[in-house]
C-alpha cells in the first residue's frame, strides 16, 4: 500500500527517465566490470603493459601521455580489439548514460506538450554533447 502511495506521484516523464536510467546504468556497471577483467587478465592484447602504466601513474596526466600512448577520449574506439581500450570504452559508455536519459526526457516532455522543459532538456543535452565532443578540452 505504501509503495503504491509512493509511486502515484511520479509523472510520465520521470518514469520514462527512470526506465532508461535503470537499464543503461545496470548495463554500464556490467560493461565496466567486464572490460576491466579483460584488461587486467590480458584476455586481449594491450596498447601499453599494465606495469608500465602503473610505473607512471604518479605523473601528471599530460606528462604520462607524453611518455606512453594509453587510450584517451574517443580514440579508444579505434582500438577496441585491445584490452585497455575496451576497458576505457566502458567508462566512456558510463559517462554517456545521462545523455541517453536526457534524450528520453526531452522526448517525453515534447509528447506532453511541455515545450519549456523540452527546450531545457535539449539545451542540457547540447551542453553534455559539447563536453563529450572535446571541443573545449582538446578531445581526440
Amino acid at each position: 500500500m505504501a509503495e503504491m502511495k509512493e509511486t502515484q506521484h511520479a509523472d510520465r516523464v520521470q518514469l520514462a527517465y527512470a526506465g532508461v536510467l535503470a537499464i543503461a546504468s545496470n548495463l554500464g556497471i556490467v560493461f565496466v566490470a567486464a572490460g576491466f577483467l579483460v584488461y587486467v587478465f590480458r584476455l586481449l592484447p594491450l596498447s601499453v603493459p599494465v606495469e608500465q602504466v602503473a610505473s607512471l601513474w604518479h605523473l601528471r596526466a599530460s606528462e604520462l601521455h607524453a611518455l606512453i600512448h594509453v587510450p584517451s577520449g574517443w580514440n579508444c574506439l579505434q582500438e577496441l580489439g585491445r584490452g585497455d581500450a575496451l576497458s576505457y570504452a566502458s567508462i566512456i559508455y558510463l559517462s554517456s548514460v545521462t545523455m541517453f536519459c536526457l534524450l528520453s526526457a526531452a522526448s517525453a516532455f515534447f509528447r506532453g506538450k511541455d515545450y519549456i522543459y523540452t527546450a531545457i532538456s535539449l539545451l542540457q543535452l547540447a551542453v553534455l554533447v559539447f563536453a563529450a565532443a572535446g571541443i573545449v578540452s582538446g578531445g581526440h
Binding site: H9, Y17, S25, W57, G73, L94, S95, A131, S137
Partner: protein, 318 residues
Amino acid sequence: MRFSDMKHHIFPAALCGMLLFLLLPSHPALAAGSEAVVQTAWWAWVIGLFVFTFLLGIVAVVAGVGGGVLYVPIVSSFFPFHIDFVRGAGLLVALAGALSAGPPLLRKGLANLKLALSMALIGSISSIAGALAGLAMPEKAVQIALGATILAITVIMYTAKNSAYPEISEPDTLSKALHIHGIYYDEHLKKDVSWQIHRTPVGLLLFILIGFMAGMFGLGAGWANVPVFNLVLGAPLRVSVATSVFVLSINDTAAAWVYLHKGAVLPLIAVPSITGMMLGTRIGAKLLTRVHTSVVRRVVIALLAVAGLRALLKGFGI
C-alpha cells in the same frame, strides 16, 4: 555465522580499516614517485584501492555523506596516484553512485526532474569550466585549494541544520514560471506532502559555484546541493537529497568528459574505485538501521577534517 549476525561486526571493521589507512604515517612507500611505489606490484595498489573504496562506501552511506567527497582527499593523500587521476576517478565514483541510486528516487516521486534540470543546466556549464581550470592549475595549488575546500565542507557538515519540511509562504516568480513544485508521499508522516520553492535566482547563482568546485576538485557535490535545495530554496529534505542525485549526475557527467579528453582517467584507478564504492554503498545501506548514524557521522566528519588537513599540508610541502 549468519549475515544478520555479521552485520554487527561489518561496520566497526570498516571504520577500523579506514582509520588504519588514515593513521599510517607518511611512509616513503606512500609518497608519490618514490622507488618503493615503483617496486610495489601494481595489483597490490589496485586491490588496496578496491578494498579501501569498499570500506569507504560502507562508512559514507552510514554517515549520510557522499562517497565522492571522501574519496578525493583521502585517496590523493594515501595512494601514489597523481591527483589528476584521482579527481577523474572521483567524478566517476560519484557519477556511478548517482546513476545507480536514481531510478527508485524518480519512481517514488522524491526526486523532481524539473527542479534538477533547472539547476543543473547552469551548474553543468560551470563544472566544465571548473574541470578545465583544475587541470590547468599547478599540483600544489590544487592540493592547497582542495584542503581548504574540504575543511570548509567539514564546517558546513558540522554546523548545517537541515529542515525536514521548510515553510514557504509564497513561491518566487521564476519558480512559478518554470512550474517547479511537487507532491510526494512521506513514509514518516504517512501522508502526501506538497512543496514549492522560493529564492530561485539565488539558488541558480549558488549552483554555478557548486558546479565549478565539483569540476575543479572531482568531488561529488551532494554536500552543497542538499543545503542549497533545502535551506536556500526551501525544498523538503527528502526531495532535496533525492533531487541532488540528479544534479550531481548531470554536472559530474559534464566535468568527467573534460577529464576523459585530458587523459586524466586511467581504468586501473577508476574501475576498482567505482566497483568498490558501489559494493560498499549497497552493504552500507543494509546496515543503516543497525548503527548509530549520528555517532558515525561525527567520526566521518573528523576523518574528513584529517584528510583536508593532510591535503593542505601536502600542498605546502609539509
